[in-house]
C-alpha cells in the first residue's frame, strides 16, 4: 500500500492516498471499507474466531501427535521378581513355560557373609561341612563352593544346573544375610505377555520392569539394618 502523501494545504485521503486537497470525506474512493485488512488494523470478529479455531486445531493436532509419539516410544518392559516380596514357594521351578525354568537363583555378593557354614548351601543338619551331595541343599548341585582365605568361602551359582526351586533361598534368607534371591534371567526368558509364573505367584512378586534395568537386587537395608560383613 502506497504511503499517503501529505499535501501542504490540506489533508490527504488516507485510504487511497490521492493527495487531493479538501476534507477526506470528499474522497469517493472505494478503499475505505478495506481499511480493516490493513496491517495493524483490528480484525473482524469472524476473522478472530476463525483464527482462534484454526490455532486450537493446530495446537490439539500437535498435542495428539506428541502424545502418540511418546506412547509409541515407551520403553519395552520385561518380567522380573521383586526379591523383597518373593516367598521362595517353588512355583518358579514348576510353572515356567521353559524347562528348566528361566528363573534362577542369583548371588548378590555384596550381601554375602562368605560363611563356612552357609545355610543356603548346606542342609539344615549336614553330616559334615563338605561338598558331598548329601550335605547340599541344592537338589541339582548348582551351587559351587570355593575356599577363600580361612574361614571364608565363596558361593557361586551354576545357572545351567539351577532349576529355580528356591530351596537355597529359604536357607539363606532365614538364617543368613539373604544374598541368594530368585531372578528371571533374560538371556533365556521369552517374555510371555502373560507370564505363567506371575499368574500363580502367591506373593504377587512378579512385576514388569524396564528392559534397560531388568534386574531387581536386594537392598542391604532390607531386613533390619545393613550387614557388616
Amino acid at each position: 500500500m502506497p504511503d499517503p502523501k501529505p499535501t501542504p494545504g490540506g489533508g490527504a485521503c488516507g485510504p487511497c492516498g490521492s493527495g487531493e486537497a479538501g476534507a477526506p470525506a470528499a474522497c469517493n474512493c472505494d478503499a475505505a471499507p478495506r481499511a480493516a485488512d490493513a496491517v495493524g488494523a483490528d480484525p473482524t470478529r469472524r476473522q478472530f474466531f476463525g483464527g482462534a479455531v484454526r490455532g486450537a486445531f493446530v495446537f490439539l493436532l500437535g498435542a495428539v501427535t506428541s502424545l502418540v509419539a511418546r506412547h509409541s516410544q515407551k520403553e519395552r518392559t520385561v518380567w522380573q521378581i521383586d526379591p523383597n516380596k518373593c516367598i521362595a514357594c517353588t512355583n518358579c521351578a514348576n510353572y515356567c513355560v521353559l524347562t528348566p525354568s528361566a528363573v534362577k537363583c542369583v548371588q548378590h555378593y555384596p550381601m554375602c557373609g562368605y560363611c563356612k557354614l552357609c545355610t543356603g548351601y548346606f542342609e539344615p543338619q549336614p553330616n559334615a561341612l563338605t561338598t558331598a551331595a548329601e550335605n547340599q541343599v541344592c537338589p541339582t548341585g548348582a551351587i559351587e563352593r570355593k575356599a577363600l582365605e580361612d574361614p571364608y568361602y565363596e558361593y557361586n551359582i551354576k545357572e545351567e544346573l539351577c532349576i529355580g526351586c528356591a530351596k537355597c533361598v529359604v536357607g539363606c534368607v532365614l538364617f543368613g544375610n539373604g544374598s541368594f534371591a530368585l531372578q528371571v534371567r533374560h538371556d533365556r526368558c521369552v517374555n510371555c505377555n502373560e507370564c505363567a509364573i506371575a499368574v500363580v505367584c502367591p506373593a504377587d512378586a512378579f512385576v514388569r520392569v524396564p528392559a534397560s534395568q531388568p534386574y531387581l537386587l536386594k537392598n542391604r537395608d532390607h531386613k533390619d539394618e545393613p550387614h557388616a560383613a
Binding site: 516367598i87 545355610t119 539344615p124 534368607v173 543368613g176 505363567a196 557388616a228 560383613a229
Partner: protein
C-alpha cells in the same frame, strides 16, 4: 453413468459409515478398562512336580522335657520397634525402640525416657547407674535420668556398634563394621583392642557375617564375646589374653544354628549363660562351662517368625535379674516376655 455415480456415492457413504463405526469401536476399546489378569487367566491346570523343601519342621518343636522355664508375665513396649534391653542396678529395665530409650520398672511402668539423635543399636548399664547408649558410630554416656554426660566417637571409620559392656573402670564395645572389640576408659579413651587375629597366640579373629556381635563382662572378671561366624564364645582378660572358648555349630538343640549365632546372650548370677538365636528363634541356658542345660523358649513359642520369609524379624535380646528371671525382647510381638524357672524343674 448416473447409476455408476450413485453406486460410487453409496459406496463412499458405506465406507465412511463403516470407518466411523470402526473408529468408534476402537475408541471404546481404548478407553475400556483391561480385565484383571487374575480373572482373565485361571490358574494353569498343570500338574506340578514335587520339589524338595527346605525342611526345618523337625527343629521347630522342642522336647518338652528340655523346657524348664515358663512364661511369668509380659508387657508391651511403650513404643514400636523394640530392639534391645538391659537391667540397671536400681531394678530398672531399659529398652530401646528406634531412637527412644525408656526405663521401666519390672512390672512395665514407665520411669523415665529420652530420645537419642539416631537409632539406638545397643546399650549397657554401669554399676553406678550410668547408661551407655550405642549409636551406629558413636557412644553416648547418660545419667540415670537420661541426661547426656559425654559423647565418644568410634575409634575407627565404618564402625557399627553392636554391643556394649560397662564395668566400674572399663567399657567394652563391639564393632561389627570393623570386626573389632574395643576397650575404653570412662573418658572414652581407647585402651586396646581384644581378640584380633593372632596366629601365634592361637586367636582366630572375629568372623561377623551380620551385625550381631554381643559381649558381656562376667562375674569371673573376663570379657565374654560371641564370635558368631564360629558359633563360639570366647573369654578374654581385659588386656586381651584368650582364656576360654566354647560352642559348636548345630541345628540340634545343644548347638548354635545358622551362619551366625548366638545373636545375643546374658549371664545369670551364678555364671550360667542365656543365649538367643536367630533363624530358629530359641532361648536356651548353658552352664558356666558351656554345657547345654535347658530351654527357656523354643521356636514353637514364636510361631509368627515363620509366617513370611521376608518378614523374618530381628533377633531377640535377653537380660536376667538377680532372681534368675529372664527378660526377652520379643521384637515381632513388640513386647517384653518374662520367664521364670519352673518349680518342678
Amino acid at each position: 453413468m448416473k447409476q455408476s455415480e450413485q453406486h460410487q456415492d453409496l459406496s463412499r457413504r458405506r465406507f465412511l459409515r463403516g470407518a466411523g463405526l470402526l473408529g468408534l469401536g476402537g475408541a471404546v476399546g481404548m478407553v475400556s478398562p483391561r480385565p484383571a489378569p487374575a480373572a482373565a487367566a485361571a490358574k494353569p491346570a498343570r500338574a506340578t512336580e514335587a520339589r524338595p523343601a527346605y525342611d526345618l519342621e523337625r527343629f521347630r518343636k522342642t522336647d518338652p522335657a528340655l523346657v524348664r522355664y515358663e512364661l511369668a508375665g509380659r508387657f508391651d513396649s511403650p513404643y514400636p520397634e523394640l530392639k534391645r534391653l538391659c537391667l540397671g542396678p536400681d531394678a530398672s529395665l531399659w529398652l530401646t525402640a528406634g531412637k527412644r530409650v525408656v526405663a521401666l520398672d519390672l512390672q512395665g511402668g514407665k520411669k523415665t525416657e529420652f530420645t537419642a539423635s539416631e537409632e539406638v543399636r545397643c546399650l549397657a548399664a554401669a554399676p553406678d547407674g550410668r547408661l551407655l547408649v550405642g549409636l551406629k558410630e558413636r557412644i553416648e554416656v547418660v545419667d540415670a535420668q537420661g541426661r547426656r554426660q559425654a559423647r565418644w566417637d568410634a575409634p575407627a571409620k565404618k564402625a557399627w556398634f553392636t554391643s556394649l559392656a560397662a564395668g566400674p573402670a572399663d567399657v567394652f564395645a563391639s564393632d561389627a563394621g570393623n570386626r573389632a572389640v574395643y576397650r575404653l576408659d570412662w573418658n572414652g579413651k581407647l585402651l586396646g583392642r581384644l581378640g584380633e587375629k593372632d596366629k601365634a597366640a592361637g586367636v582366630s579373629g572375629y568372623v561377623v557375617p551380620s551385625p550381631y556381635f554381643d559381649l558381656e563382662i562376667g562375674s569371673d572378671n573376663l570379657l565374654w564375646v560371641v564370635n558368631p561366624g564360629f558359633h563360639r564364645f570366647q573369654a578374654f582378660t581385659f588386656d586381651g589374653r584368650l582364656q576360654q572358648t566354647w560352642g559348636d555349630p548345630s541345628f540340634a538343640i545343644e548347638g548354635f544354628c545358622g551362619c551366625c549365632n548366638p545373636s545375643y546372650f546374658t549371664r545369670l548370677a551364678d555364671g550360667r549363660f542365656v543365649t538367643s538365636e536367630k533363624g530358629l528363634a530359641r532361648i536356651k541356658v548353658y552352664s558356666a562351662a558351656g554345657k547345654f542345660e535347658s530351654v527357656v523358649a523354643g521356636p514353637e513359642e514364636f510361631p509368627k517368625y515363620f509366617e513370611n520369609l521376608n518378614a523374618t524379624p530381628i533377633p531377640m535380646d535377653v537380660a536376667a535379674d538377680s532372681a534368675g528371671r529372664i527378660y526377652v525382647a520379643d521384637t515381632l510381638g513388640n513386647q517384653v516376655r518374662i520367664y521364670r524357672r519352673k518349680e518342678s524343674a
